[in-house]
Symmetry: none
Subunit: 214 residues, 4 copies
DNA sequence: GATGAATGAGTATTCATTCAT
DNA sequence: AATGAATGAATACTCATTCAT
C-alpha cells in the first residue's frame, strides 16, 4: 500500500532554470495553500489569497492548478502519501509483534505532530472539501480494514466485530482525536493519547473471551 | 403588544391569525433548510434556495432568520435537543444495568434512522458550519464524558483511559459510524452496527484488568 | 407672509374617539419622523424605524403618509410655518426701528434653540430632501429679499447689492451658522452669534457706520 | 513591483502598459462619478451606474475604490485641492492690496464656472455625503478663518466679529451663492455676483467706510 | 383604523477565472 | 511563464410598500 508519488525521486536530473522556476512557483503555491487551508478552510480562502501568500500574481495560480479544489486535492494526496509511508514503515518495523497497534498509534501521532497543517486539512471536513476528504478517509478506512483483516486471519484480532463498521469507527476515532490533539498539543501528552487509543483499539480488536459482555 | 381586533376573544385559539401564519412560515423554512443543508451543505445552498423550497419570497427568509448560519444553528440546536431527549430516555430505562451501553447505541441508531437529514447535517462538517458543529460535538463529548465519569466513580468503568481523549474518541467513532450508516442503511443491519459499537465501547470502558495488553 | 396652515384653529370641533385616535397616531408619526430625521437624515431612517419609534405597526405609516418623502415634506412645511410666524412677530414688534435686523437674528436664534430638531432637518441638506429643502430656503430667500426690498425703498438699506445674490448670501449664511450653532450651542453664546450675524448683515444692508446699534 | 518583460526598457514611457491601463480606468471612473454625482447625488447613483458610465464592468469599480463613498471622497479631495490652488494663486497675485477680497471672489467664481460639476458635488449636501461635505466645508472655514486672522493681526480686518461664527457665515454664504449661481449662470453676471459678495464680505472684514473700494 | 407578515425589486459586493501584454 | 487588470455571474441582504385579517 506504499504509494510512489511523482514527488519521490522521479526526477534525479537538475531542472533547467525555467523548469526550476516553474517548479518553485508550484511549490510556493502548495505551501501557501497548505498554510491557508489549514487556517481558514477551503471556503475561507480565495485563489487571490493563495497567490498573494505565495508571492505570485493572481493569474499564475491557474497556470499550475485547474482551480482551488484541485489545489486541495493535490495537498490531500500528498498528505495521504506521506501518512501511508509513515504507517507502513511503522507496521514493517513492528511486524507480527503485539506492539503493532501501539506502534501504529505512535506513528500516527508523530505524523500529526510534524504535519499539523496537513492533519488539520485532512481531518477537518470542510464543505466542498467533503468529496476530497470522504475519499481520503474512505481510503484510510479501507487501508486499515485491510490491515485488520490480516490480523484476524493471523488470529491476532477477534472476528466478532463487523469489519466495515469497525474500520469506520476506527477512522472516526483516530481522525477526531488527532484533530483535537493537534489543535492544542498541550491538552494531553503524546503518550497519554497513544495509550488511550491503543487500549480502545485493543478492546475492539482482540477482547479476551472472558471479557465478552454477555 | 396584545392585539385587540373586533374579533378578539371570539376564537379560543391561542395564536392570532398572524402568529399562526408566521409560525407556519418559520416551520417551512426550517424544513426546507433541513432538507437542503442535508443534501448540499451550507455552502451549496443559498438563502434564495431555502426560500424557494419553502414556497416563500426571498426576503421572507430574513424575517425569520438573521442569515443562513442562524438557520443552521437553529436546526442543529433542535437536533441536539431531540437527540439528548432520546439518549436520556434510553439511559433512564436501562439504568444501572449492564445494558446501558447497548441501549445507548440502539437509541442513537434509532434516532439516526428516523432523522437521517438531521444526522447528516450534524455529523458532516461543512465549512462554515464548523463552529456550529464543533460546539455540537464538543457538547456531546462533554455529555458522554460526564456519563463515563459516573461509571468510573461507580466502578463500572476503568480509569485507565484518559477521560478527555476517550470522550473525543467515542464522539468521533459514533459520529462517523452513524453518518456512514445513515448514508446507506443497507450497508449493515442496525443490529450489527449496534453490536460492533457496543463491543468497541466496552473494550474501552471496562476492560477486565487482566486483559491489559501488556 | 404669515402662513395659515391647517394645523391652526381649523377644527374647533372635538374629534370623535376614532378621529382622535387617528390624529394622535399621525402626531406620533410626525414626532417620530422629526426626531429620527434630525438624527440620521432621510436616508438613514426607514419607514419601519419611524413606525416603531411611534409605537405603531409598519403598515400604519402608509395610512397617514404616502411615503417617507411626504412625511419629511410635512415636517418641513410645519417648520417653515412656525419659523415664519416667529419672524413675522419679531419684525412687527420692531417695525421701522433700527433694531429690525438684530431682532430678526434674535428671533431666528431663539427659534433654533427651541426647535433644534426642526432646524437640523431644515438646514442640513439631505440627498433626496434636496427638493424639499431647496423650496424651503428659496422661499425663505424670497421672503427675506422682499423684506430687504422694503428696506431699500425706505432708504434703510443700500441698493449697492444685487437683491437676488444678497438674499442667497444671507440665507446661506444664516442656515449654516444656525445649523453649526445648534449642533453644539456651547460653541458660542447666543449673543455672540446674534451680534456677529447682525454686523455682517449691517455691512451688506446698511453700511453707514453711525447706524451701528451700539 | 517593477515589471521586467522582454520589452522592458525599450520604451521610454514611465508607466508599464498595465499601469497605464489601470490609471486610465481609474480616471474614467472618476470622471463618471463626477458627472453622475453632480447630476443625481450620492444616493441617486449606483456603483453599477458609475461603472457603466465609465464603460467598464461592475466589478471593476471595486478594483479601484472601496465603495461609492470613497469615490466621492476622492472627488471631493481633488476638488478641494484644485480650489485651494486657485485661491492661493489669487491671493498671491493680489498680495496686500485692497483687491485681495475681490480677487478672492473672482477666483472662486471662475473656479465655479470651470468646474460646475465639482462645485455642485462639493456644495450640495447629499445625505451620506454629509460627512465628506462637512469636512470639506469645515476645512474651508478653517482656511478662511486663518486668512482672516492674518488680516485681523495686520489690522486689515476688524476684530469685532467672532472668528468662528464669521467663518461659518462666510462659508455658508459663499457655498450657497456659488451653488445658486452655477445652477444657472444667467441669473446674474459674474461681475454682479463678485461685487455683491465682495461688499458683504467687506462689511464683515474691514468696516472702515473709507476703505470702500469705490 | 390598525396590524404585521409577506413581497420582490433593487443594490452592494465578492471572487473564480480569463486574457492581452 | 508570469503578470495583473478586467470581467460578470453569483449572492446576500435591505426596505418601501401591499394586503389579508
Amino acid at each position: 500500500m506504499v504509494v510512489r508519488t511523482s514527488l519521490a525521486g522521479v526526477a534525479p536530473a537538475r531542472e533547467s532554470a525555467g523548469e526550476r522556476s516553474r517548479a518553485q512557483t508550484r511549490e510556493r503555491l502548495l505551501a501557501a495553500g497548505l498554510a491557508l487551508f489549514a487556517e481558514r478552510g477551503l471556503h475561507g480562502v480565495t485563489s487571490h489569497d493563495v497567490a498573494a501568500h505565495a508571492g505570485v500574481a493572481a493569474g499564475t495560480f491557474y497556470l499550475h492548478f485547474k482551480d482551488k479544489r484541485e489545489l486541495l486535492r493535490v495537498i490531500a494526496a500528498e498528505t495521504i502519501a506521506l501518512l501511508r509511508e509513515r504507517l507502513d514503515r511503522a507496521s514493517r518495523s513492528a511486524r507480527g509483534s503485539r506492539e503493532g497497534v501501539p506502534a501504529f498509534s505512535e506513528a500516527l501521532l508523530a505524523f500529526a505532530e510534524e504535519h499539523q497543517d496537513r492533519v488539520r486539512i485532512l481531518f477537518s471536513r470542510d464543505g466542498d472539501a467533503a468529496a476530497v476528504e470522504a475519499d481520503v478517509l474512505s481510503e484510510l478506512a479501507a487501508s486499515i480494514a485491510e490491515t485488520r483483516r490480516g490480523r484476524i486471519a493471523s488470529g491476532a484480532s477477534s472476528a466478532a466485530l463487523d469489519p466495515d463498521v469497525a474500520s469506520q469507527a476506527l477512522v472516526g476515532m483516530l481522525a477526531r482525536v488527532v484533530a483535537w490533539w493537534v489543535e492544542d498539543p498541550r491538552r494531553a501528552s503524546r503518550e497519554t493519547v497513544a495509550r488511550t487509543l491503543t487500549r480502545i483499539q485493543l478492546g475492539g480488536t482482540h477482547p479476551p473471551p472472558e471479557a465478552a459482555e454477555e
